[in-house]
Symmetry: C2
Subunit: 229 residues, 2 copies
């Protein structure tokens, strides 16, 4: 489904070079449930942004569902993202001037869903994260964890084939976090491909595959077949 | 040191009333090391903002180090905050146009510390969170966890008597998180008062006192004397 070949992401700040990703080769197969773990600053968010077609690599190639992404134009990338990928950002990226319902409807505005249908599906997605009672409020009137749950609802509203989530339970207590993990597990059972970044060892333990990153390199891959999990 | 009496915080959105805090009475004594725990949306950040003199209650009184805060003017509040309190926000609130070093120096600019002294103390604080090598970079060039550590360094740079930190390890892997917790423990041993909001049960377990919040009410207080910890 997604194939990275020798992908690097290099930033230049002043005369310094920062290798956020360093020559990463990685395959993600359809229907997998994966967690990405690693120390702070190791390259997890950078990897997710590249996998999610939000950022392009400095070197290397990416193939997503048969399309060579590194050649695609920004408009083509936006189309692929909108139709195939749901993304939950580490710091949510909600639009403060829209209310919660409008934020969740947004991906469907781009894909041309009717206003009535948008509203129904957005309310359903908010029910999945138990926040339908805050539909008319604005993101900054919610707590950190509540905003995170709105961002999760927005990522799921277009029924994406692939979901990339960057620490989706980072601002949630363990009880609320477990409910969100159950949601992702259910989506995985429906055949969608799910990749989560997490610092929580309990979450990493329940996903069949773990990808470990250190200093921009993929360190360790625990595959279900090898690990006998 | 800090006494809350019948403090409520009530928001009005449309015709709805949201009781973020509901009649909270609470004492925090000098030198305590406390964790504040509770579900997402239960009122933890709201409580911290009121304890940290960043927000005022709708009802009730607060006394901090002998001063009745609820009567203080914004200028007086800023002075009290700057001299006595270090605050780590749940989402950092770093200034994107300043570099990392300038962000950490900022509290000392307000308290009139010389440029040379500011620079030395800011670099020392960055060393405490192992980020001195990113001093010249900007916050948005750092990862989520790295930004969080800059926010911690900024909160400590003025040697505050009281430190309030809202999920200071939320974006950190367990190894980096433990290093930060050790830092707070050391500060507590120096006699400072430390209150941390956390979703991490392992952190809550190591602080001598835990305050549990549910639906804006302080549910349970485990005191060291009572719990025999
Ligand atoms: N400006 C606001 N307007 C309306 N409601 C608000 C506002 N700020 C917070 N709230 C509500 O007050 C309640 C408490 O919010 P608070 O941010 O204190 O929760 P929290 O315990 O910190 O949660 P989390 O763990 O998700 O960060 C929540 O229901 C939240 O939606
Ligand atoms: N725009 C940028 N300019 C320069 N360096 C950057 C930029 N964005 C990220 N980096 C650096 O790239 C490295 C990887 O960052 P990334 O955000 O992927 O880490 P992460 O694993 O997600 O960390 P965290 O767990 O703290 O969120 C870090 O050292 C970071 O400082
Ligand atoms: Mg990250
Ligand atoms: Mg909060």
């Amino acid at each position: 489904l997604v194939e990275l070949r020798n992908v690097s992401k290099i930033y230049h700040v002043g005369d310094e070079e920062i290798r956020a990703l360093d020559n990463v080769t990685l395959d993600i197969h359809g229907g997998e449930f994966i967690s990405i773990i690693g120390p702070s600053g190791s390259g997890k968010s950078t990897l997710m942004h590249i996998l999610g077609c939000l950022d392009s690599p400095t070197h290397g190639t990416i193939e997503l569902d048969g399309t060579m992404i590194h050649h695609a134009t920004p408009v083509q990338l936006a189309g692929i993202r909108n139709r195939k990928i749901g993304f939950v950002f580490q710091f949510f990226n909600l639009l403060p001037k829209l209310n919660v319902l409008q934020n969740v409807e947004l991906p469907m505005v781009y894909s041309g869903v009717s206003a009535k249908e948008r509203r129904l599906r957005a309310l359903e997605a908010l029910k999945m994260v138990t926040l339908e009672n805050r539909a008319k409020h604005r993101p900054l009137q919610l707590s950190g964890g509540q905003q995170q749950r709105v961002a999760i609802a927005r990522a799921l509203v277009n029924n994406p084939k692939i979901v990339f989530a960057d620490e989706p339970t980072g601002n949630l207590d363990s009880h609320t976090g477990e409910a969100i993990l159950d949601l992702f597990r259910k989506l995985s059972e429906e055949g969608r491909t799910i990749a989560l970044v997490t610092h929580d060892p309990e979450i990493a333990a329940v996903t069949p595959r773990r990808i470990e990153i250190r200093d921009g390199k993929v360190a360790l891959q625990v595959d279900p077949k090898l690990a006998g999990l």
